[in-house]
Amino acid sequence: MFKLIKRNYVYNEWFWAYVFLAVDLAWSTLFLFYPMIKGVIYSFQDIRLQNISNPHFIGFKNYINVLTDPDWWHSVKVSAVYTLGVVPMGIIIPLTISLLLAHFRRSIRDFFKAAFYLPGVVSAVIMAMTLKWIFDPMAGFMNWLLSLLGLPTQLWYSSTSEALLTLIIMNWLSSHGFNILLYSAALDRIPKSLYEAAEIDAASSWRRFWKITWPLLKPTTLYVLIISVIGSFQAFGGAFFITHGGPMKATEFLNYRIYVTFYQFGEYGVAATMSVLLMLIVIAVSLLNFKIMGSEVEY
């Protein structure tokens, strides 16, 4: 009997592949797909804290309400501006640092890579609190620095016009470790022979970058671009820990709006609708990135 099982299944790669996939699939179904489907169902229901025992189907009413709500579009604008501010620098800064690090020997490179990645393992709360202190308009490090240089101090996150920019600057200063690792790994994979050949052809370093490095980094750049866009559209921590969406809703990101709708207003159906719309926005922007960048990617 055992021999039969052994003959038919034990050495059958497909069988074991399905077994292992089934574990992952079950996990994903339970913790990813089920909540996602439930969220989509909620988005078509009138479900809120006050009627949780009696939710009912209301068709597209939640969608109509959200899409005609000026506050929703304000949050879309805030998130879009934040994304535009954060994503390009999320590529330029890590790429520049990775290119600079490439000139050093391996041990120094590894040290700096670890140093840049370190903020990523620090608790988001600690990170936010540290940045909050640095940009504190009354007693922060940045204003102290500006005073030292004889420059006017700023209100930073206490200003309706500067708050979003401050959160963007905070992002520039604090969240590039992972992208540096990706770019460094991608740079390591580019064959040295290509640069040697270019050198023989007397190509300038600028030309070598544009003709060799950049095209071969495009798969990584596409990946970085997409995860950065997704991440910045889902930005939440800065608004939650530092600005509370203010002042005057200047930093009310989409995710923060969803949070407020869910927890403060107790409108689960509307919050679910916003989540679905956010998901559609992220998918649409990601597809656009694929469309624009994907055709030029050389794998």
Partner: protein, 510 residues
């Protein structure tokens, strides 16, 4: 032999699993979501009470879920309720549970009744009007066991009495006589100073943050107007309970201008603090940088803890003498001192419908009775496990103001004042007189229009006129009908009845 051994082992395993399952099945677990932390002295005390309950009720276990900070606790409760995983027992005040826009808002309650089923008429009379916070919602299975009374933080300010005395103001006189906005501004001119000589003020009257801008900035003008009791003590400050319209718009406009002037004209509160949190304000107060914070009286415990740590050398800083003072009021005809609000805090049973005979519900009911039993109240007071304001105990047997010894004269003043004069908040009753659609819309109005307008004004982006207009226009757009007239009539009748009961009861204590 091997086969027999396998059978025996299998049977033993099955027996073990079955006995474990039976043991689990025979243990009834009550989940209690509480904002107290088990690792604090008070938490440890409650833990002992819970252990005592478990010992006297074999087979019943208490699963204590700690909610963290009050804000986190309210969010956690809301989330649990939203996920239909509400705890058996939660602690709180009806305002938090019924006000729309709060995490655990249950504003759709169609009617609220005092649970006669669990309290005799005599007991209810003993509880007096304070029992107004003790409600159950028919069909929803929410029953409350009142535990203690709490001075509404909305009408109290915590003052750094050292700063007040330095400026020539006697906090005891302020408590005794009240004080006007004019006096408050005079204090500001003496308090706001550049102490380190860098040319910028580093001591302020208050931070215009979170709710402090409301309590110290807007309410002194807006709430000092004398109004009928029903209007005075409804939690909804801004909308008329009878019409649903914005209450006294001209006065609200003046309140906006007052806050604007405090920040931009007099510069007694820093505009740059607009994005700071209540925690930041609390820290600044402990550093001696603020003369006032608007907080609940239990903040005095935080100050005491700060002082203890300073005296023991655990932290650097100065000992701060803090106390509650009333809010200043507008010294004009028709205005007067703002009376303290009073809320009933207790244990709410969420999950179960009123006892119908099942064992779990019975255990939950017994547990709530046990922890709110009057036997524990003097122990709590004597051991100092409750902050001073909580020593005005409200139990199902004695809701009237039994004033225990308190060490803090400011608290004693307030407690006496309340015992003689104040009525508890009527908020949840007035709240449910508004239509459901209006309640939901005004919750959003507050978040999406009122607070952003205030923040814009404090940050200097809007003038007081512009901010007020934004708020007014947004309020006018809220949906009609706003008031459920039938419900309002019932509510008004029941409130009047309770007020009479309170008056009768208060005679007993004079």
């Amino acid at each position: 032999m091997k086969r027999s051994l396998a059978i025996v082992i299998t049977l033993l395993l099955a027996l073990m699993i079955m006995s474990s399952a039976l043991a689990v099945a025979s243990t009834d677990t009550i989940t209690a979501l509480l904002p107290f932390r088990p690792n604090t002295p008070f938490g440890a005390y409650l833990g002992q009470v819970f252990n005592l309950f478990e010992q006297t009720h074999p087979g019943v276990k208490i699963k204590w879920i700690s909610g963290g900070s009050w804000g986190d606790y309210i969010k956690k409760l809301g989330t649990m309720l939203g996920a239909r995983q509400g705890p058996d027992v939660a602690y709180g005040n009806a305002n938090y549970l019924f006000v729309p826009g709060r995490g655990a808002g249950l504003a759709s309650a169609d009617s609220l009744t005092i649970p006669d089923k669990y309290f005799t008429k005599d007991e209810r009379l003993g509880m007096g009007a304070a029992v107004i916070g003790s409600v159950s919602i028919p069909g929803r299975g929410i029953v409350v066991w009142p535990w203690h009374l709490y001075i509404g933080g909305i009408s109290t300010m915590i003052a750094n009495e050292d700063i007040l005395r330095e400026a020539g103001f006697d906090p005891n006189k302020i408590r005794k006589n009240g004080w006007t906005i004019k006096q408050f501004l005079e204090l500001g001119s003496k308090v706001v100073k550049d102490l380190n000589g860098d040319g910028k003020p580093d001591r302020w009257l208050f931070y215009p943050v979170n709710s402090d801008h409301m309590r110290i900035g807007i309410f002194p003008v807006y709430l000092s107007k004398k109004r009928p009791l029903l209007e005075q003590w409804t939690l909804d400050y801004f909308f008329d309970t009878k019409t649903g319209k914005l209450k006294d718009p001209e006065l609200l406009h003046r309140a906006f201008q007052y806050l604007y002037d405090l920040v931009h004209k007099y510069k007694y509160a820093p505009a740059a603090a607009v994005s700071k949190s209540m925690g930041d304000a609390s820290d600044a107060f402990l550093r001696g940088e603020l003369a006032f914070v608007a907080n609940g009286p239990d903040y005095l415990s935080t100050v005491k803890e700060h002082n203890r740590m300073v005296l023991e050398g655990q932290i650097k800083g100065k000992v701060i003498h803090a106390g509650i003072v009333p809010m200043p009021y507008l010294n004009e005809p028709g205005h007067g001192p703002i009376r303290p609000g009073l809320a009933v805090y207790g244990f709410y049973n969420f999950k179960q419908n009123p006892y119908k005979g099942d064992e779990h519900t019975k255990h939950v009911m017994e547990f709530c009775d046990f922890i709110t039993n009057i036997v524990f109240q003097p122990i709590l007071a004597a051991e100092g496990f409750m902050s001073p304001d909580r020593r005005l105990f409200a139990t199902r047997y004695a809701m009237a103001a039994n004033l225990y010894d308190t060490n803090d004269p400011s608290v004693r003043y307030w407690l006496n004042d309340m015992r003689n004069n104040a009525l508890p908040s009527l908020s949840q009753y007035a709240c449910v007189a508004f239509t459901k659609a209006f309640r939901e819309a005004k919750g959003k109005w507050f978040h999406d229009s009122f607070i952003p307008a205030l923040e814009g004004m404090i940050a200097g982006k809007l003038t007081a006129d512009e901010a007020f207009n934004e708020v007014k226009v947004a309020a006018e757009k809220l949906p009609y009908p706003r008031v459920n007239k039938d419900k309002l009539r019932d509510i008004t009748n029941s409130i009047n009845k309770l007020i009479k009961e309170e008056q009768e009861e208060s005679k007993m204590f004079k």
